[in-house]
Symmetry: C2
Subunit: 201 residues, 2 copies
DNA sequence: GTGGACATGTGACACAGTGTCATGTTAAGC
DNA sequence: GCTTAACATGACACTGTGTCACATGTCCAC
């Protein structure tokens, strides 16, 4: 988390820094990005940077949190719009995800260099395990009757599977430079497989 | 890939370097590892290192390849032993995976810092997309009748889903420091969900 | 055995990036 | 205007990288 000094900054200066950072993180992965470049682009001194953030990881996860928080709101709204239909929701969510062209290079870099720490952040979009409350909020929004699960534990694992497959498709979208339509078609195929089951009965 | 000079080295010296490298990569992630440390442990000079490898990534992927090649052989053997039963095979494969305690810290570091480039290597254990031949060899070994798919395309996506979920469980095993039994129980639960389908019919 | 030619080994070096800290600047309260 | 605390700055010591001119080893022709 950024330090207090960062939040004390005038909004415009915060925004400037955020934009500079997003630009740098669009051109390189976390380990390749240099603080030297960020401060140069943002027009602040090296020392100031360390007044605001612990280091570049701190800034990186701050940006990531901003992004996932927005996505999470969209997910909840979509779920409500679809009266709790999880599969319809996650399908629409994926389509809007691959169509969104804001911060494209930033997302590419994040996804192609995603580690467990980062992936956990994304999975928490639907599955805020750490807070029982959040999990309950979302599972109350969902129409559980349509899902082939009994109990919260199975529900939790179902969500984990869905998010894992979703993220992996999103990563592949970038890794293999898939066209939006192809990426969606692949994802829908996998969703159908997941819904109907992988084993022949 | 290592340079020719590395393969020209006497086997014992190769082994020494490999062991030194595995030790370093057990203590730190790819981006944190220092060549200085590797050469110190291996007792060679910095210059020599660059005669053998392009850089530390080169060495890292060399080690990774050695490991995944062994795993791949095991997977094929298990599949044959189980007369092509994919679910039984992957279940046994996962159990042997989390029970194997060789190179434990190395695997932890690899998994917790897995990027798309690394994950692709692992997924290719069953799904060597680049070589049509490999894919056919493996799909011939499998008893496809037990799987709820029609055609190679669906089969490909089924395998992708299975590997994705398997790897994610393996990562979580390390990330959350799960006991072997708990990890296996979680995985089996997810396998059953996958087999029977996520949607209620 | 000597010379030469080629392969391999070596560590000093220039360079790039990090995090810190002593010192300078600003602004608000009184 | 003075005080004080918060913020800004860039030089600095440190750590690590990849390279290169030179040293050493190896092998074969003569």
């Amino acid at each position: 988390m950024p330090k207090l000094t960062f939040y004390n900054l005038p909004k415009e200066k915060q925004q400037l820094l955020i934009e500079a950072a997003q630009q740098e993180f669009s051109n390189a992965s976390l380990s390749e990005v240099s603080i030297a470049n960020i401060v140069k682009t943002a027009g602040i001194s090296r020392g100031s940077f360390y007044q605001y953030f612990e280091g570049k990881e701190d800034l990186y996860f701050y940006l990531l949190n901003r992004y996932t928080a927005r996505r999470k709101r969209l997910f909840k709204a979509t779920l409500e719009k679809n009266s709790g239909d999880l599969f319809q929701t996650i399908r629409e969510f994926y389509i809007s995800t691959v169509n969104e062209d804001e911060l494209l290079d930033f997302k590419r870099n994040v996804l192609l260099n995603m580690t467990e720490q980062v992936e956990t952040k994304f999975i928490k979009i639907v599955n805020e395990e750490e807070s029982e409350e959040e999990f309950n909020t979302i599972s109350r929004l969902m129409d559980v009757d349509k899902l082939n699960v009994s109990g919260n534990k199975e529900l939790y694992h179902l969500l984990k599977i869905l998010m894992t497959v979703t993220i992996r498709n999103w990563i592949e979208h970038f890794a293999r430079n898939l066209a939006v339509e192809e990426s969606i078609a692949n994802y829908e195929l996998e969703l159908e497989l997941l819904k109907k089951g992988l084993a022949r009965s």
